[in-house]
Structure formats: structure tokens, C-alpha cells
Symmetry: C2
Subunit: 562 residues, 2 copies
Amino acid sequence: MAKNKILIVGGVAGGATAAAHARRLSEEAEIIIFERGPHVSFANCGLPYYVGGEITEKEDLLVQTPENLHARFNLDVRVMSEVTAIDPISKRIEVSSVNSNDKYWQSYDELILSTGAKPLKPPIPGIDKPGHFTVHGIPDVEAINKWITTQKAHKAVVIGGGFIGLEMVEQLQKRGLEVSVVEALAQVMPPLDPEMAGWLHKELQANEVTLYLEDPVTQFNSPNKENPATASIVELKSGNLLPADIVILGLGVRPVTELAKIAGLVIGEKGGIQVNEFLRTSDPHIWAIGDAIEVQDFITQEQVLIPLAGPANRQGRIVAENIFGNSMKYTGTCGTSILRLFDLAAACTGVNEKTLRRLNLPYDVVYLHPPAHATYYPGAHRLAMKIIFHPDDGKLLGAQIIGEEGVDKRIDVLATALKARMTVHDLEDLELAYAPPFGSAKDPVNLAGMVAQHVVHHDVKNAQWHEIENLNTNQSILLDVRDEDERSQGFIPGSQHIALPELRQRINELSKEKEIIVYCQTGQRSYFACRLLTQKGFKTKNLSGAFRTWKIATNKMAHKKI
Amino acid sequence: MAKNKILIVGGVAGGATAAAHARRLSEEAEIIIFERGPHVSFANCGLPYYVGGEITEKEDLLVQTPENLHARFNLDVRVMSEVTAIDPISKRIEVSSVNSNDKYWQSYDELILSTGAKPLKPPIPGIDKPGHFTVHGIPDVEAINKWITTQKAHKAVVIGGGFIGLEMVEQLQKRGLEVSVVEALAQVMPPLDPEMAGWLHKELQANEVTLYLEDPVTQFNSPNKENPATASIVELKSGNLLPADIVILGLGVRPVTELAKIAGLVIGEKGGIQVNEFLRTSDPHIWAIGDAIEVQDFITQEQVLIPLAGPANRQGRIVAENIFGNSMKYTGTCGTSILRLFDLAAACTGVNEKTLRRLNLPYDVVYLHPPAHATYYPGAHRLAMKIIFHPDDGKLLGAQIIGEEGVDKRIDVLATALKARMTVHDLEDLELAYAPPFGSAKDPVNLAGMVAQHVVHHDVKNAQWHEIENLNTNQSILLDVRDEDERSQGFIPGSQHIALPELRQRINELSKEKEIIVYCQTGQRSYFACRLLTQKGFKTKNLSGAFRTWKIATNKMAHKKI
């Protein structure tokens, strides 16, 4: 076979996987990995937990070392070696030592770019102060740990409420720091829709984290006598001044494409290296994988950047297969991801509502709040689920789930269903494992299918939480069918109250002229009420997600005077 | 609509669901549920936990009461009412009071049989003694609790190692009883293959439960002075005599079909009521659901009995739809189920190897033992997974998983993949949620797909644990590629040892004339070694599941003399 020399730029996740898999396909090939940093194949998703102390040994973060990659796979791993140029005509790269002025050229038959992504650092005045850190490699978290200890840091300000930002919030708070999060948008966790992010806002508050939303940083000021701190005084657009003994910058990442540009490779419109479905770049002997590339969202067909470890690993394997003459396709992404934030897990897969609205694609939405396991078995907590599907054929488009248990399970089932292009009807049919400690005879995923199917089949019309904000009371009635004790805990202003068990008797209190929007606590009883009223000739809508979704989304409540 | 009167025989699970769903489709219909017992719609899967004290309130087991079913759904629920005859010509049933001699006939437009299953009680001498209990309804567990208390029961003997048997073992042991399990077969949990059941045997031992395998009960003797006990002296085929203060009979269930037979309905060859895909029996106005019916295994197309709550609930909804003129199909079962046994969960979906062998269908098997979440994050435990697939196209046929965490998640993903008729290649491609507390960048399901794909693509040949029992050492070498410290903990007798990192240097110690069966601890390094050796011209096989599967399957080990 002619593929004698395979060079790989970047060793973390995808790069190391590609190298190891290439060796399994060829004992003869010369395989060299170049890594700019001191570590090859470290656990970058574990970095926050090394700060919080859940992971105590640095060695645990080192998934592979150059030595064992050599021993096991006969790989030549060169750390502290930055690839500074590519000459695609002569098929060679320039390698520069990070620690010295040494440079050399190395030729290749096939080149794999696994250059990754790097943290965004917008030009905010003062952003480069000591005590400001990004979380990108092991040296970063070592520096953070050292800073916290030596500076006796007490107040932390985290800029950005995405994955890394919130994982650092949790870990810094667990380490005993007083933590604030600053977010320019109106919500944390951009992959979620805003009303679902509301559950995370609540969880941050419950854990005494101060959250600044829609309030971007304007500058980082130097501390002074009036505003003492060991790192900086973070100034927000609102004028708020936050003293910070340490600042964590979690402002997202951008693909590292400098080398690709030097080589003249085509860059996509989202700024990542463009590859075809076989992960080949515009040069036939250069391949690219991981956070540096653009991939296709297999639902919307949009090009997207997905800086996640799972896809990178998958791509590493595929590229090795293709280099050795196979034709394995990367079938695209649905962006499945999960975050733990204190007692909650928040996960999503597929497309969110924001994106569908932006792309002007048809969709419908249901919310539900099923218990994660049978309620008669102790310890059941309710999930908050949002299911997005095509209004005509019920094809699943996306899902978001937040809760204290069983979130990862349901999102993985839904990610599998998405990959299989299942409909909400198929979700209803899934035969999932049930014993009281693990689930329910009707699993939350089955229930999600049922609830969505009611909408697809026009068994019930849904109203969404944002539609009842300015209700025209001449045309619509808001009807609360919960029990008295639930209503006494709070209700939607302006709603009429008839508990479901009384509805058949008191049906004459309702007008057939007006549209009746029914709600209960979680959405099940209001559906029953809608079916009852519809059959009796009333015009009804079911408030999807019911009081729970409305409350978290609007964060308002009328309290009954007693 | 003409469906004015719907009668439902049996209220638990499927029956109550059918009734409630029928009401959502028709406010006008008269819907009556007849239940022989005192409770409608109770949580039968929760019964063992009421004995163990995890569920403390009997009310928690009562999912619905006649009163709230009436209030919410306008259902007429008649408990302690046994249906004793069906007259399909006149479309009426005979109802007999359980507490009196009252009888009456009730006419129907459509009749739903949800008669369930009842515990098997084989004619073993002495089986009907006081202190012997089945676990079928709330009165059973109340009687068990009372017996344990009043008799100060100390020694429990559980007959049968299926779901109910093992759940009762766990709960009785947690309640402080000394527990033995008696099983006629060579393994507990028949849905698992025997080598996978080995993990449960080990878990029982670790929890000081005495396990008698392949040792059926021959009779239940009365206690006497020499053998005192409050229930009986259980005599086994081996001659063992087990004093029992309480005996739990967990010998499986059989469908209740007496009424169906009275009505002249067709009974299937497995002994359940025969229904078509719309759940209609051989009489056009009689429908049947739940544990009483036979359904189709959608993988093997065999008729099977699946006494599980999930399918029963699903069928309840479907039958209501079909009675009101829709054409909703029950798409068959894959028997997904899960058991918790002390610290382990054991789950399966699809077909097991025993069944495939019996049906003489083509299949291949891989075992793997991936950690349930990233190993660098604390608390990771290894899963034991068995994946069964078609040898030609890699289509998934079944899966069995045992472990301490994340078992339910992976079996549900695989059940979803089965329903979508995915291949092992598709499993590799799934994009599942990863953050260190929840999983790995390569999830166990992805890894399962990879490992199986290696076999489908002939990247490696597998040997199974039972093939190395009587290895011809003239033709084959068994090669251990683990590290020295692993080998010192135990190895397969007769194996040669070259640790993987030394293999390239010491390759000349191996013979190209013989087949080399390679093993490591979990199966990954042996795969690497096979790829290496195959490329160098050796004939190799990878011992699937490696030392871990071999050890649990054979329960033997050679200890190195130090």
C-alpha cells in the first residue's frame, strides 16, 4: 500500500484516535503526531473537575502519553512541536519547536489536520490581565489552581454561560468561591431555547450564584482601594462593577484554521475547514477532523461547527479508514450534548426552536413534565421535556430535557430516534426497560410521543406559554383545572378555576362562544379536560407544558390572597 | 357512534389505560371495568418493594382508585366482581360478586379482555402450605408482611430465580432475612444467556444469598423437631433440606384464558389468547390485551408471551383507538426488560443466543466491558455487554447488559436501535450525550458497534469463551497480552504471556503454523494484538469478552504460584 507516511497535526481526541486506528489498518505505515502543547490526548472535558477537586490527580487527565502510544501502537508522538507551514505541492510540513528555534520539514503521503478550536478572546479592554484564564488545556487549569491558592481567591467572575462557563461555575462554587456569571444574551446555554434555560437560571440562584443576563462586559478595570480584588473589576454594560479575584473567560471557541489557510484549503462560511462527507479537504491528500471543521447538521442540512469530543473521535476513525482506501462517510451531526449543573442535568439533541424559526422551517412543540421513574417508588423527580417535531408527519426534529435524574438516558434514546428519522408515533411504540427504580411503564419518551401525537392527529390544539401573555378576554377564557391546593400555591392571572373532577357537573359555567385555553400543573389533566370539552362542542386549546412551563418561562405568579 | 357500551374485564395496567383512553375518544360511551380483586390499577411491579420497606405506604401502590377513575373519566369501576361467563352470540357477560352469591348479565357492544396472568403453581407435594406465598396482588404482600412479623420469620426460601423471585430475594435480604434461592435451571434470569447470568450468581453470593442451581424442589415437608421452621422444609432433588420460615413461589406466570375459552376464542400455541395486529380476537367484538395474549416478537416473528407492564399499557391505548374506528397496529415486542439486584442492574432487549440457537438462525456475538463513564472522572464502573447481530449485514438482533450504573440507558438506546432495525454500523455512528459524569466520548453503545463491526468486516475473527475449553495445543496457542500485574491476579490455564507493548519485539516467539487465540482483560488490547499479528502473517482469533467473560462464564482460574 502506498500510504507509507501519515502525519497528524494535533493529538487531542480525533488526532490520537485517527493515529491508533491507522496503525490497526497498517503495521507498515510511518505515523507521526505533532502536538504544540506538552500533552497528547488529554481529557479536555475533564478540565473543570480538576479545578473543583473532583479529579485530584493530573495523571488521570492524561488519557494517553507519548510513551504508551509508542509502546502500544508504534506511533511517533512529538509534543511541543508546532506545525507552522504546509506545502501541499511538495507534500511536506514545517515543524517548529515550541521551546527552541529548531525547525524542519517533514514530508507526507497523507496529512490529517486535527488542529482543534481555541478560546475566543474578544477585544474587551483589559481582557489580558493576570488572573484572567481560559480553560483549554492542562496548563490552564494548573495555573487556575495555583492562582486560587496563592491569591487566596474568594470572588470568581465567569464570563459566558455556555458549557465551559457553567461547568466552571459549578466547580468554583463547590471549591468554596463566591461565583458570578456574566452573560451577554438573555439566557445561559445557547443550545437550549430560552424558556428551558429558565430551569438553569433557577438552579444557579438556588446555589447562590449571581447571574447577570443581557449584560455584557464593557471593560476589565484594575482593582483599587475602593474596589479591591486580586484580578480585576469587571464592568458591565449596566454599570455594575464586579470585583474579581479570578476571571474565567468562557466565551466560546473558534476553529483553528491558520494552517489550513496557509495550505490554501477551502474554508467554509462558518469559519471551519471545509471537508466532504469522507472528511477530505479541498486538497486530495489533506484530511481534517474535529473542532476545526464544519460538518452538516443532518436535520437542517446546514453547515455547523460542533466542538464536541464524540464527533471528533468518530471522525478520527473514519479518516483512517478512508486513507486506507475505504469509503466511510461521516453522516453528520445532531449536536447531542449534556451539561451537569449542581443537581440538574440539561441535555439537548437535534434542532432547537430558535434555529427552526430562523430558518423559517415548519415545526410544532410540546412540553411535558413526567416523573423520571414510577412515582410510587421513592425518589422520583419530574423531568422538563421539550419535544420539537414536524407538524405534518410528526417526524422528530429535536428535544431538550432538564431534570435531576434520567436526563442522559432520555436524550440518548431521542438522539437514537433522530438518527433513525423516527416520528413521534414511533416514540410512542418504543419498548423501553421498566422496573420501578429505573422508569415507568409509560416511559417519559413514550409519553412525549403520545403528547406530540395528540397534536399531529389534531386530537387537541396546543397553546404555547408565550401566546397567553396578552390574552383577549373577550375572545378567550383561561381555565385552571387543577385541584384547590395546587391553585392556592399560585396560578396564572386572570384564569377561571374548575377542578377536573367537577368539570362535567359545572360545564355550564363555560361559554361556547369563547376559546377555552385549559391548563393544569403538568399538561395531562388539561388534555383530558380539552378532550371532554371538545366533545361537548367547546373550542379548546391545551396550554402545553401547563403551569410549570409557564411559570419557569415567565417567572411571574399571582398569589391568592387568603 | 355505535360503540355505546364498552366492557373491560380486568383493571390492572392495560385495562385501566384502555378505559381512560376510550373516554378521551368518547364522552358518550358507557365504560365499565370489572375487577375480581379489591383494587383496580395497582402498581404490581412495586409489590416486592412494599415487602422490603422501600415503599412504606400501601396507598402508594394504588395508582388509581375506583373513585378517582369515576371523577376524572366517568368510568364505572366494579371491584370484587368476577366475570364468570361470556355469551358472544348475545354479546353479554355474566358477572358474579366475589363476596356474595349475586350474579347478573351485562350486555356489551365491545368487550376488552385484560385478564392478565396468574402465578404458576406446579403440583409439587406440599406446595399449598401456610407460609407459602406467590406475589401477585396487594393482598399477597400484605399477607407476606404479616407472616414475617407474626412468625418472626428468619429464613426465607425463594423458589425460582426469575424477575419476581430475584426482586423478592433482594427485598427479603434487605429486610434482614437469611435468603436462599432454588432454581431448577442452570442459571437465574432466563431472558439472559447463562454466561451473562453468571454476574448475577456472583452478586447473589456477594450478598450472602445461597443459590441452588439445577436443583428443583421435589417436595415441601412439614417442619419437625429436628428441622424446625415456621413454614416448611424444602426438599431439593439433590437431597438438600432447607428449613423455611417463609417460602416465596416465583415460578413464572401463565396467561389467564378461562373466560376466552368459554367464549370460544382461539388460543395460540403458547397458551395465550390469539389476537391480530389490531388486538382483535377471533370474535370481531372481543379484543384482548396484556399478559393474557400472545404477541409477535418483531425480530424472530415467533409468537411469544410477554408479561410486562409496558406492552400492556401500549396495547390498552391501541385497543381503544381501534374500537373507535382507527386502525392502529401493535407492532410487536422485543422483550426489553430490566432487573435491579443489589448493586447491579441486568437488562436485555431483543433475542438471546439460546433462542437463536433453538431457531437455528444465523448470528454472531461480541462481548465487551467498557466503563459506564469516562474513567478519568471518579466512580466509573465497567459494564458487561453482550451484543448479538446478523453475521452478514450486521443487523442488531439483541443485547444483554449488566453493571452498576448506566445499564438502563444503554439498553434503552439499543432497544430503540432494534426498533429502527439498525445495524452495528449505525450504533457506531450514534451521537450520544457526553460529559464526564454521564458517559464517554466513545459511548459503550458506540464501542459495541465498533467491536461488532470488526467481526462483520472480517477485521478480526472472534473466538468465544466456550471454544477454548478443550483447546488442541498442537493447533492453537492461547496468548495473554495483558500486563504482568494483571496476569499475576489470575490467567487462563495453558496460556502464553507476552504483554502487548512487547509484542512487536517478541513476535518471533510465536509460531505462524498455529492459530493464535489472543486475550487481554476486556477485549480491546487483544484486538490490537490480533490486528498486529494478522498483518504480520499470523493466524489469529480474538477471545471475545477476554478474561472477564471467560472468568465469569467458567468460574475457574489458575493461580500463579509465587
